[in-house]
């Protein structure tokens, strides 16, 4: 029964002595044993490490030593975040045998507070994709419909949480990669303000866009995780030099009178079913006392093209480090130094990663940099300004998370069409804004949909607070996919 509770409640049960950390862990390991075969959410488990952690917690409790804020909370981690002494492959063949020599700051922080890391989750290779189908290892499935994708790129993390194989997971979000799979799997997922969670130890894709973010069954668990992870880190020079925010004490405060902007014009292409669902979500916010008003974000039409220039430019630079020399795959066919580079990268990278590296190389190459890369940076500036103008008139902005519910595996073959799945999430990364995806109901064929709430930079606690109020008013988060109830 433990798996039906929030992580926050599980933590309380541990503190109150109702359950031990080892019991909590073993329940989740049993669930993984029973259900993982249907889902393929994980790339590796770190059972031994987790058991040690749980044992240490129980020992501490026995000796009446203080337990951390996250004691007993089981966490699954996207495979592009380094966890010391575990495999970190980024779902890429180029890192097949790579074992992390250190932990990411986010991992260090949650482990210091007693979180138990259970395993590493599948994702699109180097977080490049929207369906987890670009993984170099396996296809993950959506717990609500096993023929559909869980979304991506943090698809394994979202599937794990939705199927209650872990109450919480970490993902990374460069253009919607925690929020979109969160919505497609019917759970909550949060992308903080750029720089709020340290990127140290997150394998870089688009460094000016990347953020680690928590996924959870309950918004209150996201609040708890953010209090621990959202702090300054000297090892990331873009980390915001401010102390941690208070989230949990804000949770029960009413959001009456909050002004919520909706960019109706930008949303005009929304399909009937997601549109109806979004209208209902807006009504629910109104009945909580929010004032709804229109904001002009028609500039967001250009967010996707700007993103695919900036993100790929950064990716082509970041992924230059995979050279077959110092770590990762080295081609057996390579006889010369040049061949080590050319063949290791040819064998190690998948099709989408190669596509993006070449595109990024193109937009940065001599003769094209001004026309593409600099132009995209200027459009990014305009997007940032338009959001700032919009937030002059409202506290938060609401949109759907994704244009469609979960789609069938293999149904989207055109890369450009796949990119369009991120149309509503990508603008936030370009502007560095915090945004949350919270379950907003289901389609007729029981596929989850999500509401996205967006705030100005550094308004992270406000965004989480509003999402909590919405969750408590609607209760969609209590639904568990049929095949994973027991």
């Amino acid at each position: 029964m433990n798996h039906k509770l929030s992580a926050t409640q599980q933590h309380k049960s541990l503190v109150d002595g109702k359950i031990s950390a080892q019991e909590i862990l073993s329940q989740y390991l049993q669930r993984i044993e029973r259900h993982e075969g249907k889902l393929d959410a994980f790339l590796s488990l770190c059972q031994e490490r987790a058991q040690k952690q749980a044992q240490a917690l129980d020992e501490k409790r026995k000796n009446k030593q203080p337990l951390g804020k996250l004691a007993g909370i089981v966490v699954a981690v996207k495979d592009n975040i380094n966890v010391q002494e575990t495999a970190t492959t980024c779902a890429s063949k180029i890192l097949k045998n790579y074992v992390s020599p250190y932990s990411a700051t986010a991992i260090r922080l949650i482990e210091e507070e007693g979180a138990i890391i259970i395993g590493k989750t599948n994702c699109d290779e180097f977080a490049m994709g929207s369906s987890t189908e670009n993984s170099g290892y396996k296809l993950s499935r959506n717990p609500w419909n096993l023929t559909c994708t869980p979304g991506g790129s943090s698809g394994g993390s979202a599937a794990s949480v939705a199927a209650r194989l872990s109450p919480v997971a970490l993902g990374s979000d460069t253009g919607g990669s925690v929020r979109q799979p969160g919505a497609l799997c019917g759970i909550s997922a949060f992308k903080p303000t750029y720089g709020r969670i340290s990127r140290y130890g997150l394998v870089a894709y688009g460094s000016s866009l990347d953020q680690i973010g928590p996924l959870a069954t309950h918004v209150e668990d996201i609040a708890l995780m953010m209090e621990v992870m959202g702090r300054h880190c000297e090892k990331d020079s873009t980390s915001i030099p401010k102390g941690p925010d208070d989230y949990t004490s804000l949770l029960n405060k009413p959001i009456k009178g909050m002004k919520i902007g909706v960019p109706w014009q930008f949303l005009q292409d929304l399909q009937p079913e997601p549109k109806k669902n979004f209208d209902e979500a807006i009504k629910a916010l109104e009945s909580l006392g929010c004032k709804i008003q229109e904001v002009d974000l028609s500039i967001l039409k250009y967010s996707l093209p700007a993103y695919y220039i900036i993100a790929t430019a950064e990716a082509s630079t970041n992924l230059a480090r995979f050279d077959g020399i110092r770590y990762g795959l080295r081609s057996n066919a390579a006889k010369t130094l040049d061949e080590v580079y050319d063949l290791s990268r040819e064998e190690g990278f998948g099709a989408e990663v190669k596509r993006r590296i070449l595109l990024g190389t193109f937009v940065l190459s001599a003769g094209y940099q001004d026309a593409y890369y600099r132009k995209a940076q200027k459009v990014r500036q305009l997007i940032l300004q338009k959001y700032q103008e919009a937030f002059g008139a409202c506290d938060l902005i609401a949109t759907p998370v994704a244009p469609n519910p979960a789609f069938e595996l293999g149904s989207i073959k055109d890369p450009l069409q796949m990119y369009l799945e991120d149309i509503y999430t990508i603008g936030l990364n370009l502007a560095g804004l915090p945004g949350i995806s919270v379950p907003s109901g289901f389609t007729k064929d029981k596929k989850p949909l999500g509401l996205q709430l967006i705030g100005p930079q550094l308004s992270d606690p406000l965004v989480v607070q509003a999402a909590y109020a919405y969750q408590e008013a609607t209760k969609f988060h209590n639904e568990i996919p049929e095949a994973f109830k027991e």
Binding site: P101, P305, R330, A334, D342, E346, F362, K375, V379
Partner: protein
């Protein structure tokens, strides 16, 4: 408008240090043409008086500089654990320069 052809794909692959075969060249050319055509809609946006955005949270804080001091980092032993090939406590790579005597192959 960019002129994208197979020659350009070869050039980009060489810059990216990724070997690509004929078949891959074909599909990369097709995909990249489509994507570049799509991103060119940015030209509709008037950016004549706009400065490029280089750091998105600039209004929050400037990038700090760290102190230029030596810090403890990974040990040689830990670092080398990940290396595909090593020799005498160093990463081993194929010969970089040609030698007159016959080089033992790697």
């Amino acid at each position: 408008m960019a002129q994208l052809d197979k020659k350009m794909i070869k050039y980009l692959a060489a810059l990216s240090r990724i070997a690509v075969n004929e078949e891959e060249e074909e599909s990369l050319l097709k995909d990249l043409k489509k994507i570049i055509n799509y991103v060119e809609q940015l030209n509709e946006v008037d950016t004549s008086n706009v400065a490029p955005c280089t750091y998105v949270t600039q209004s929050v804080d400037k990038t700090p500089l760290r102190k230029d001091t030596v810090e403890k980092t990974l040990t040689r032993e830990t670092f080398l654990k990940g290396a595909p090939q090593q020799i005498a406590g160093m990463v081993r790579v194929p010969p970089v320069m040609k030698q007159e005597t016959k080089q033992e192959s790697l």
